[in-house]
């Protein structure tokens, strides 16, 4: 695991290329907050498409100069296509070795899964084969009540999936002890935030990455309820000393500060620096620009496995900066740092077909988060100061 952890630090340093295979647009679940509006059981990636994509990418080494690569698999639910994924990963390893590619031994296979198939034999065999180059995130939203509120099976009965996921958590944590989970908050989830985060920590998941959806779903007073939940969570984490072994991404020391127009002008989102491939063999700047992710806009295709990448279509992403896409209110905001955006959602919500119009739907939630975050750190410093004084 040390190997993986060390590698993670390098990847987080921004020197890794993220290449995502959208292996299927199918999923066992129909989560109510899912941004994938076009999920279906028909668009499954074929081996021929996957192989052509790999051949294109590995044969254009000069266009992919990042030191490391994260081969990412996404769906729908990626483990529904475990046989294809296993074949892809074997081929990738063989080809990177055969070509003496600079990514050989500097790669990682990454998965975001709903965890339902985690225990099955095919998935477990794959994990054992690739354990040293693997990171897997299982999405579990918190308590059974909170999880089942949104993460329900397809079909009319809207049966919750909590019980089928949680039984796989011990095996997952045994194989990946430092794993984190990703929690997504929408309007209806707000009352359950505190108990859900605490529940995940109780399950042994020490790193809880949690964020509000970027879509414009927020109702009146959601920010106040959200702030109250975060204050209660802060009290619980600090009063029970959970901060010693756990982190929750809502509480991050360096958010809520003004940003300089010159020195802090970089784009937040990595769209364009990543690459996604779908079942049709089309390339995208990020999965969020594939048609199944978009409500109101046309897919932003930047090429395909036959003709390669049209670099002109990447230029808008690679020249994007914070201020050019932001409103004056955002530029002047006193608590701008840590306020995130998703380029795909910006594009989908924009008045014209552009990535240069930043959506501000999350504004009041960020402000609430910053107030609670300030509370968390001040309370924690206060506690630690008092302890040190004893």
């Amino acid at each position: 695991m040390d190997l993986i952890k060390k590698s993670l630090e390098e990847w987080q340093g921004g020197i890794a290329k993220s290449i995502t295979f959208i292996v299927t647009k199918d999923c066992q679940l129909a989560c109510k907050y899912c941004y994938l509006v076009g999920k279906n059981a028909k668009e499954r990636m074929s081996w021929d498409v996957a192989k052509k994509a790999i051949d294109y990418i590995l044969s254009h080494e000069d266009e992919f100069k990042e030191e490391s690569v994260v081969w990412d698999f996404i769906g729908g639910e990626p483990f529904l296509e475990i046989d294809l994924i296993d074949k892809i990963c074997d081929y990738l390893k063989m080809e990177m070795f055969r070509l003496n590619h600079h990514w050989f031994n500097s790669y990682r296979f990454s998965f975001s899964t709903n965890g339902l198939n985690y225990h099955c034999e095919e998935v477990q065999n794959f994990i054992k084969k690739n354990i040293n180059h693997l990171s897997i995130g299982i999405t579990i939203d918190g308590t059974k009540q909170k999880h089942d509120l949104n993460r329900v099976y397809k079909g009319n009965d809207e049966r919750g999936s909590y019980d089928d996921v949680v039984r796989n958590i011990p095996l997952w944590l045994e194989q990946f002890p430092n794993s984190s989970t990703k929690v997504t908050i929408s309007s209806d989830d707000i009352p359950y935030i505190k108990e859900s985060v605490v529940h995940l920590m109780d399950l042994g998941i020490h790193e809880v990455n949690i964020n509000c959806v970027f879509e414009d779903v927020w109702k009146e007073n959601d920010d106040k309820l959200f702030e109250q939940q975060l204050l209660e969570l802060a009290d619980h984490i600090i009063d029970n000393d959970l901060y010693k072994e756990n982190t929750c991404s809502f509480f991050t020391e360096f958010i809520g500060k003004p940003l300089d127009k010159e020195t802090d002008n970089q784009n937040w989102c990595g769209a364009g620096k990543m690459l996604s491939i779908d079942a049709a063999g089309n390339f995208y700047p990020c999965t969020r620009f594939a048609q199944y992710s978009l409500r109101d806009k046309d897919a932003w295709i930047i090429g395909n496995i036959h003709t390669g990448i049209n670099k002109n279509l990447l230029r808008p992403f690679l020249t994007l900066d914070r201020c050019t896409q932001s409103t004056q209110e955002c530029i002047d905001c006193e608590i701008a740092s840590g306020c995130a955006w998703c380029q795909g959602e910006n594009y989908d919500a924009a008045d014209t077909s552009t990535v240069y119009q930043r959506s501000t739907a999350i504004c009041k939630m960020h402000k609430a988060r910053v107030r609670a975050n300030n509370y968390y750190w001040n309370k924690l410093y206060n506690k630690l100061s008092n302890l040190n004084a004893l």
């Binding site: 932003w300 670099k311 002109n312 279509l313 230029r315 808008p316 690679l318 020249t319 994007l320 900066d321 050019t324 924009a350 008045d351 014209t352 077909s353 552009t354 990535v355 240069y356 119009q357």
Partner: protein, 314 residues
């Protein structure tokens, strides 16, 4: 702030820029007279200078009366007998067959292939012209070899213009001399300072947007309604606002077609504009070897042809 109103009098109004007006014409639609009158009224009220764009056929007398009685500039195809401020020449064959008029600006629209084959025709006739704008209609098809050839040709043009200048004459050739007189970006400014009224009575960012069947951005009755209008301004174009290829057209239509964003130029547009910029520098230095010439003008030596490489490497 808008300053110019381009009025397309017909669906067959001549193209004076990168787009082809004939590509999507289904019928010969003339702007209704009532629309034309309202357009002029609108321009007067909004304090916009009018540019009429004429078709290659004679207009009915009522139209001619309105045009001749309105303070405006006229853009017309060279195949017509209109007294225009700007005459559009479609290709080298036409260039060879027209009589050059003094005090008229000419636009030569040509493909890169024809330009590369026949550019010497330009050097042959250049002394007759007071101003020539060369428009390469397929800039998006430029490849590496084309960039090299384009540079060689511009250097030849520079030698020719140098000789003319040293003889005491002046010539304006957009791709070579415009950069000498610009101190800041002077681009097309469609959607920012210039707007187009089409024969259907609707506003479009520029004629190309009309012929490409893009969405209109307003009408005479309700005025302009340009969504994300700031994206047409230079300060919202990350590549262009740092650039000193001041003569670049910065064509928002080509931007949209090739990169999907009106504020982002393609590699081809950037490289072509920088070859022109560098040729202007070469011309400036060549003339200065003989005489004191534009002493305050400076075009710095740069190591790139595509400013995108600078951003990418940051």
């Amino acid at each position: 702030m808008m300053k110019y109103l381009v009025i397309l009098l017909s669906d067959q109004s001549t193209s004076f820029c990168y787009y082809n007006s004939s590509d999507n014409i289904e019928e010969n639609k003339l702007m209704p007279l009532e629309t034309l009158r309202n357009a002029i009224k609108y321009a007067f009220m909004e304090d916009l200078f009018i540019q009429f764009v004429l078709p290659p056929f004679s207009l009915p007398k009522e139209y001619e009366d309105i045009i001749t009685s309105t303070k405006a500039s006229i853009i017309a195809p060279s195949s017509t007998s209109y007294k225009a401020d700007v005459m559009v020449v479609d290709g080298f064959l036409e260039l060879n067959n027209i009589e050059i008029l003094k005090d008229v600006s000419y636009v030569l629209r040509t493909s890169k292939k024809d330009f590369f084959e026949h550019y010497e025709e330009i050097t042959r006739r250049i002394v007759e012209l007071s101003r020539l704008n060369i428009v390469l209609t397929d800039i998006e098809d430029f490849k590496e070899d084309d960039f090299i050839l384009y540079k060689q040709i511009l250097d030849e043009f520079a030698c020719c213009v140098k000789d003319i200048t040293l003889s005491g004459e002046t010539i304006q050739l957009n791709i070579l001399t415009d950069r000498l007189v610009e101190n800041e970006m002077n681009n097309c400014n469609a959607g920012c300072k210039t707007i187009t009224l089409a024969p259907d009575g609707q506003f479009y960012i520029c004629p190309a947007f009309y012929y490409a069947k893009e969405q209109p951005v307003g009408n005479l009755e309700n005025g302009l309604m340009i969504k994300n209008s700031h994206l047409y301004k230079l300060e919202y174009a990350p590549l262009c606002r740092e650039c000193d290829a001041y003569q670049c057209k910065r064509c928002v239509y080509l931007n949209k077609r090739l990169t999907r964003e009106v504020n982002t130029p393609s590699k081809e547009q950037c490289v072509v504009s920088h070859i022109e910029r560098n040729a202007s520098s070469f011309l400036l230095l060549s003339i200065r070897e003989h005489i004191i010439f534009m002493p305050k003008t400076e075009i710095k030596e740069i190591s790139y042809l595509d400013p995108f490489d600078n951003i990418k490497n940051k």
